[in-house]
């Protein structure tokens, strides 16, 4: 299979889905760029990170729609277009910007189907960028998938590698419900083997990226790549780590997580989201409720602290979960025992 970057895999999928279905339109700030500028260059951006490059040349301005900086109208219009026959892929440039358009997700798209008695479909995909590590500071670095996962009516997808990005995005665009597709900006240059042709990955099916027997690590998005590295390192010491990448937080593949923990008896959860009310707490809670008897040691959570993301590079480095912290958490759970009474 050909090696492709995460960025190219997303770009290729957008093109393939737009060729396949003329109802698919891409809209957002600078998805093409250049309109109204003095250079006359037809595609001056192709997305801030180049993810939508080349789309306007192939599909034209009617289907690749540059919008003003107007997130409520972008996301709201995508919802309205989805209700009336298009399959929009709207770009929310950074997930941090949900603060200015959350109503259209929370109270509108997420609820249309339910409050209209099932008499509509809402095939909207919101592509957005998450994650720290680029020194972009408190308002361009967050991982807010946990907030969105808490909303019934939307699906939340976090591809951790280029192949998953392709397979999950194609599924998102063909899905009849609102899907928030969270791309980690640190992963755009990462490569993987990605099939050329049609490739679909169902939602709600975890990927076991490393098989192991001593400890389960459930990790999300970019944290999967870190967990894999730690697993490979510890394998040389004879520590067998299983890495579970749920790939979607809503729907969540609870069974794969529980099966793995029942096998290993130990759990580390790694998430770049919030330590309070986030996916790490959610997975720890799931295992406490459903598989407590399997646990041989307390669950370890590896998350950022409960602070904003600092712009300061060395502080940001400390803020993001690291391979060192993951390794320490694995070693801690392996050395601990759950004290049981009675």
């Amino acid at each position: 299979m050909p090696l492709k970057s995460y960025r190219d895999a997303i770009n290729e999928t957008l093109k393939q889905e737009m060729r396949r279905d003329s109802r698919v339109v891409v809209m957002g700030e600078d998805v093409a760029g250049g309109l109204g500028g003095s250079s006359g260059i037809a595609e001056a951006a192709g997305g801030t990170f180049g993810v939508t490059a080349g789309l306007v040349a192939e599909f034209g301005r009617k289907r690749v729609i540059d919008t003003p900086i107007t997130e409520s109208a972008i996301i709201g219009a995508a919802g309205g277009a989805a209700l009336t026959g298009l399959r929009p892929v709207a770009e929310l440039m950074f997930i941090d910007f949900i603060g200015v358009c959350l109503d259209q997700i929370l109270n509108q798209q997420a609820k249309f189907r339910y409050m209209f008695g099932g008499r509509c479909t809402v095939p909207v995909t919101i592509r957005t960028l998450m994650g720290a590590g680029l020194g972009a500071g408190p308002q361009h670095s967050q991982s807010l998938h946990g907030i969105l996962t808490a909303i019934p009516g939307v699906k939340v997808v976090l591809p951790s590698n280029a192949a998953d990005a392709k397979g999950l995005l194609a599924t998102a665009i063909r899905d009849d419900d609102p899907v928030i597709f969270c791309e980690h900006k640190f992963l755009y240059g990462e490569t993987a083997d990605v099939p050329d042709g049609e490739y679909l990955i169902p939602f709600g099916e975890a990927n076991i990226t490393r098989s192991g027997t001593h400890v389960t690590v459930v990790a999300f998005s970019r944290m999967v790549t870190l967990a894999n590295k730690v697993a490979d390192k510890l394998a040389k010491e004879g520590i067998s780590v299983e890495v579970v990448d749920p790939r979607t937080t809503s729907p969540l593949d609870r069974d794969s997580i529980l099966e793995s923990v029942e096998k290993t008896g130990r759990l580390v959860v790694v998430d770049e989201g919030t330590p309070l009310c986030g996916m790490a707490s959610e997975i720890a809670g799931l295992v406490a409720c459903e598989a407590l008897d399997s646990l041989k040691a307390p669950v370890q959570k590896v998350t950022p602290p409960h602070t904003p993301v600092p712009a300061t590079p060395h502080l940001e480095q400390d803020w993001v979960p690291s391979t060192e912290k993951i390794e320490a958490a694995i070693r801690a759970t392996l050395s601990q025992k759950l004290a049981r009474t009675g």
Binding site: S72, G76, A77, G80, A81, A82, L86, R119
Partner: protein, 324 residues
Amino acid sequence: MVDQSYDPILLLEAYRRMRLIREFEERMRREVQAGTVPGFVHLYCGQEAVAVGTCLHLRDSDYIGSTHRGHGHCIAKGCNVGEMLLEIYCKQGGLCNGKGGSMHIADLRKGMLGANAIVGAAPPIAVGAALTQSTLATDGVTVSFIGDGASNQGTVAESLNMASILKLPLIFLYENNGYAEFTGVSYHLGGNIARRAAAFGMPGETVDGVDFFAVYDAVGRAVARARRGEGPSAVEAVAMRWYGHFEGDMQLYRDPHEVERLRQTADPLVKFEDRATREFGIEKDELREIDAEITELIDDKVDAAKAAPKPPKEALYTDVYGSY
């Protein structure tokens, strides 16, 4: 001179829809006072000419975005009154199978994109519907109803701009009914609604929303322009609401005689009947026949809605997703 577009069939249909809204809302008012209706109900009396004067220009394939005060829009757009009542009573078979209620009635078959309980949330959605019409190159149009209260939301400004730059077939239909909840328009609104819209590069005019003919003519111009692909327009229709923000509102912010005066001087049905019978040959008897039919219809449908079965318990869990 009789305007070509005011043919008797159109005028009788206009009257029928306005009378239907009036009867529907007056009956809802009594039912809310009697405690038979769940949730909040926001009544449209006094504004009938706005919805009807607008929607008579629209086809089923055209869209409207509505507000929390949406019953009149639904009726004007042709939604089934019996199914509306089932919905308001949260019963099985309602337009949203009983899970939306008064503030969320939608009927996509009729191009009704939903009442909306978030003030100012519908215009961006209407932008999307107009974007669909524009992208698929239909000659369809979308109307976004916006209250004077909602006109102050940022979403409305964003929608005006987006519709303007993308030249969408969208009509911003402002309903200035005098109050944003419990606060008067003279306090809450800076400048002028129609001029605000015009500042985004589209025609914007203000009309008497009590006068069906004024609304019908203004919206006709806006719809024709949109169908020709010339872009959005704004119309501000001024018509005071007769009742509270919601039914049950004590209305301490209003002069107790204000509504009485409105009933005497600003009744859209009286105003319509006066002109239609004087200038366009409509007979009063024809109108009284419509009145009688509607009274019977509402009686029947309210009784049916009250007697209808509730949604089953499992309905709690259904229709969250298409698949999950």
